[in-house]
């Protein structure tokens, strides 16, 4: 092969790989543009505060679904965050033995379990014994989904804390538990908060595990023991309905969901950046 043709192939492959970037950007730009443009069309104050109207009646909103998502995610976080962060601290501090290796591997493998499967598990765990759908069941599903990735994330962040800090504290006679809590965890805290925010953002976007756990509700739900509406399930129901009006509501609800999920992960990103700056100082 001549040098000329080899250089030609090199250039061609660079262009091909660059095209991969363009191909990846097209769906992203299209999704974002359509959600924003079609979503903005239906956006109003009432959309945030009102209940869904039956088909045929104009107006109405998804207020109960927004509140429901916040409720389910908050309950799920209340269960999932302590478990996930705790398991992560265990992995970092005591995780070098056989138990640690097993827990680490199981956490890694569990993070790939499809969310719909977790929904079935929450159905068996909560819905069947309670005999009805409830926000609790959805929360349990979200918690199970949060734990593995939170554990792995926390472990990585705690391990980043310099060993010398730990040793200095122990050498001063501070007990081990206090060293872990007040020195190691405190140093790793901003990073852990980032991981938590990312976990919450992912949980807020989940639909499949809520379909048959928290189900849906056309009204305000007053207690977590009731079936509860959520933004994601509402988008699914609106989108797969045959009505034009509901389709446009699906887009507006999707815009609200994207704003919620996006602001959570943006917050996480900003926090991570500040942390890096802090370490550099």
């Amino acid at each position: 092969m001549t040098l000329r043709s080899r250089k030609l192939i090199n250039g061609a492959m660079t262009v091909v790989c660059g095209c991969a970037l363009l191909i990846a950007l097209v769906p992203l730009a299209s999704v974002l543009w359509l959600v924003i443009s079609r979503g903005l069309a239906g956006l109003s104050f009432a959309f945030f505060t009102q209940l869904p109207k039956p088909i045929g009646e104009p107006g109405g909103g998804v207020g109960n679904a927004i509140l429901g998502t916040l409720l389910i995610v908050a309950l799920g976080s209340a269960i999932g965050i302590p478990l996930g962060v705790g398991a992560g601290v265990f992995l970092a501090e005591k995780g070098d033995g056989a138990l640690g290796r097993v827990v680490r591997f199981v956490a890694e493998v569990l993070s790939g379990v499809p969310s719909i499967v977790v929904g079935i598990v929450a159905y068996g765990l909560v819905v069947l014994p309670m005999r009805h759908y409830s926000a609790w069941a959805g929360a349990v599903a979200l918690a199970v989904l949060m734990v593995p990735s939170l554990a792995r994330g926390t472990e990585e962040l705690v391990r980043l804390v310099p060993r010398t800090l730990n040793e200095a504290s122990l050498a001063l006679g501070v007990p081990e538990w206090k060293t872990s809590l007040r020195v190691v965890l405190r140093t790793a805290l901003p990073g852990i908060v980032t991981a938590i925010l990312l976990g919450i953002s992912r949980a807020a976007g989940e639909t499949a595990p809520l379909l048959f756990t928290s189900l849906n509700n056309q009204y305000w739900s007053t207690s977590p023991g009731q079936p509860t509406a959520s933004l994601t399930v509402q988008i699914f129901n609106y989108a797969t309905s045959p009505y034009e009006d509901w389709h446009s509501k699906a887009w507006t609800a999707a815009l609200i969901l994207l704003l919620l999920v996006g602001s959570l992960s943006l917050g996480a990103k900003l926090l991570a950046r500040n942390r890096l700056k802090g370490l550099a100082r």
Binding site: N10, F90, V109
Partner: protein
Amino acid sequence: MLRGLGAEIVVPGRRLADRLWGIGLTALGGAVLVVAGLIVLQLTRLSAPVLHQAGLLSFVTSKKWDVVNDTFGAAAYVYGTLVTSTVALLFAMPVAVGLALFLTEMTKPQFRPIIAFPLELLAGIPSVVYGLWGLFVLVPVLRDPIEPFLARTLGFLPFFKGPPIGLGFLAAGVILAIMILPTITAISIEVLRTVPGSLREAALALGATRWEAIRVAVLPYARTGIIGGIILGLGRALGETMAVTMVIGNAPQISASLFAPGYSLPAVIANEFAEASGALHTGALAALGLLLFGVTLLLNAAARLLVRVATGGAKRVAA
């Protein structure tokens, strides 16, 4: 490490507190195993009635899914899951690897965070939003220009026959490809970063062009890890629910044509579980979940091991 030293000057209450702390942490770590155990337990418990009645093999291979007569066979759903995931891999693999190569080998390091940002965005969009987009944007585009075009040009193949509906295996495959693209790309980038610079330099010093260096030095070294990333992407594709449910057409049939509507394992669980009547129907859906769980578990374990081997067990450097 300091335990021997501390033991002599220990305050009694303190040792108790340290031991409680250790026990508490271990319990929290063990909770991960409990969660895993609960998943397995619930899935087997719920699906037991159906698996007793039919046995796993005949459940998976039988085509007949008749809710009214309590006859359950998963073949059509398994078929749909496999076809859509294969289509997704065929589309996503070259793009993801090309993209990873472009980001790690062909651009200046300063640009990388700017280019990597959209990938993170792509990974963060909820699946139901992809479904919405798929239903109202992708499906119409497939129905009108794309599927008729494929039928005209490649219509002699069995894959591109039949009426262009839009909803179907092809739509589900394309949307899955978009959704697993960030996964495969991220792992590939991670693996490519561990390729020693000396390998590239050696190839370049021997007169190779940049592409030749990638082909003879970089890719062979990174192959195992990239395959691990692809398997991880496959695992995601198999279990992806909402977007597929919204665009696959939800018709339990086995058809060679990608234009035909089909069904997938997660999609049928999503559509039927809440309205399932009786322990057998619920059990059959849970058995589908168990199947999905088993397959994704194996794929994930394999992928993690491959990636770990490929990156030489190196501790990941924080970004």
